[in-house]
Symmetry: C2
C-alpha cells in the first residue's frame, strides 16, 4: 500500500527561503511526521525559487545565434539566449518549440526554463532549473535530517516526450533512493531472462506525485509518499540521462 | 490523499479467463470494495493472456523483409516477422533493438511483443498487445459494473523512452477517465497563460501503479488507486499517441 499525501499550505517561495524549514513546518501543519523510509517529492520550481534562479529578461542581450534561432522558432530572443546559455545542444526547432539538451543532459523544451507561476511582480522574469538538482535534493535531505528524519527526496519537473502527447512528471534530482534500478541477470517466474532490465523508479515516483500536485492555480509543490519499499542503491537523477553515444534519437 | 493498493493473489491468467470475475474475486479477497471513483490499473500482459494473444514462434515463417531486419538487429527472425505484422513502420534499428510504430500508433520496442512471465509451458511463445486496449478497458469496466461498481480502468505497459534511461509504465488502454487533459486557455496564479497545456494523466497513473506492481517474480498485475479526483472528460489511450504529422522525432 502506497499513500501520496499533498503537503498543503506552503506559501510562495522566494529567494533565500530555507526550504527544509518551510517543508518541515508544512508537514507538521498537515499532521505528517516524516520518516526515513518516506519519499518527499518537491517541484523543481520551488527549489529554483529558493535558490534564486530567476533571470530578468530586460537584462539579457541576445547573441546573433539567439536572434537566428528566435526567428526560426518565433520565440522571445532574450529567452532563446538563456536557452542557449543553459544548454549544450539544440535538439529540435519548430514553430514555438525549442527542444534543447540542458547542460545536465536533460532534453527538455526551452532547456527547462519556466515562465509560469513565478510569483507576483515577476512579469518579465523567467526561472532556470536548479544548478545541480541532485545536490539540491541531497542538501534538502541533510537539512531535514537536522530537524528530525531523513526521507528520500525527489525533485520533479514536467517533461514532454517524443511520440506521446502531453507532459508527465519526471525526476531531475534524487537523494536517498536509486533513481534507476538495473535488473540485468534477474529471471522471470519461468526462468527466462527479464527483457525489461532497467526501471526508472524515480521518474515513476515523480509521476505518481504529479497526480496530487497538479500544475494550475491550486498547485501543491510538495507531496509525501509513504509505503514504497525502495530497491537497494542510491543512483542520482543524472543516471536517468541516456548517454549521447547510446541515444538513437539525438 | 491518494492510495495505491496492490491486488494480491491473482493466479496465472490463461486464455478464456474472465478477467472481471477474477479481479472482482481478488478485490474481495483483499477486502477491497471497488467504487465508481476508483481507478483499476491492470497490466496489458494479463489482458493479452485472457484474450489469447499468444503466438507460437514455430508456426511463424519469416518473410524476406523479416530476415533482412533480423540480420541487422540480430534478433530471432520469427519474432521480427511478428513485429512487422504488428506495426506500420520501423522507427529505429540497432543491435538487439527494434523500435516500431505499432498499428495502434504506439512507438515501442518490438512493437510491444512480450516474452517474459508468459506462464508455464510457453517457452517458444510470445505475447502480442491486446488487439484494441481501449476496447478491452471499456469491456472490463462494463463487466465489473455488472458485478457491482464501475471504476475507471487503465491498462498499462512498460515503455522505454528516447533521451532517458530505463522504462516507465504508461497507459495503452483507458476507460472512464480522460487519458489526457487539455489546459489550453487556463492561466497561472499571476495571470500568465499556462505553458504546460496538456497533461498525460493516464500515463502518470500507470507509472504510479507501476511502483506497487513491479516486473519481476513478485509482480502484481493489478492495482487499485483511490482518492484521485479526475478532471472531466473521457479521452481514450489512443489520444496519447502523437499524430505522425506533429512528431518531430519520427
Amino acid at each position: 500500500l502506497i499513500t501520496l499525501v499533498p503537503i498543503r499550505g506552503i506559501a510562495e517561495i522566494v529567494p533565500g527561503d530555507c526550504l527544509a524549514d518551510i517543508l518541515a513546518a508544512a508537514l507538521a501543519a498537515n499532521d505528517l511526521v516524516p520518516r526515513n523510509d518516506d519519499v518527499l517529492v518537491v517541484t523543481s520550481k520551488i527549489v529554483s525559487k529558493a535558490e534564486d534562479r530567476f533571470r530578468r529578461l530586460d537584462r539579457v542581450t541576445p547573441s546573433d545565434a539567439a536572434l537566428d534561432l528566435s526567428a526560426r522558432a518565433l520565440k522571445d530572443p532574450r529567452l532563446v539566449q538563456l536557452v542557449l546559455e543553459e544548454s549544450t545542444a539544440i535538439v529540435r526547432v519548430a514553430l514555438n518549440v525549442i527542444i534543447a539538451r540542458h547542460r545536465l543532459g536533460l532534453v527538455m523544451a526551452n532547456a527547462g526554463i519556466d515562465a509560469s507561476n513565478l510569483g507576483r511582480d515577476r512579469a518579465d522574469q523567467v526561472l532556470l532549473l536548479p544548478s545541480d538538482p541532485d545536490a539540491s535534493a541531497r542538501a534538502l535531505a541533510d537539512a531535514l535530517e537536522r530537524v528530525g528524519s531523513r526521507p528520500a527526496v525527489v525533485i520533479s519537473d514536467s517533461f514532454g516526450r517524443p511520440w506521446r502527447m502531453g507532459v508527465v512528471n519526471v525526476a531531475v534530482g534524487v537523494s536517498g533512493l536509486p533513481a534507476i534500478v538495473d535488473r540485468r541477470g534477474e529471471r522471470d517466474r519461468d526462468g527466462r531472462e527479464l527483457e525489461v532490465t532497467q526501471v526508472a523508479f524515480a521518474d515513476m515516483i515523480a509521476s505518481a506525485a504529479g497526480l496530487v500536485s497538479g500544475e494550475a492555480a491550486e498547485g501543491v509543490p510538495a507531496v509525501l509518499m509513504r509505503g514504497w519499499t525502495p530497491p537497494a542503491g542510491d543512483a542520482p537523477a543524472v543516471s536517468l540521462v541516456r548517454p549521447v553515444d547510446q541515444d538513437l534519437f539525438l
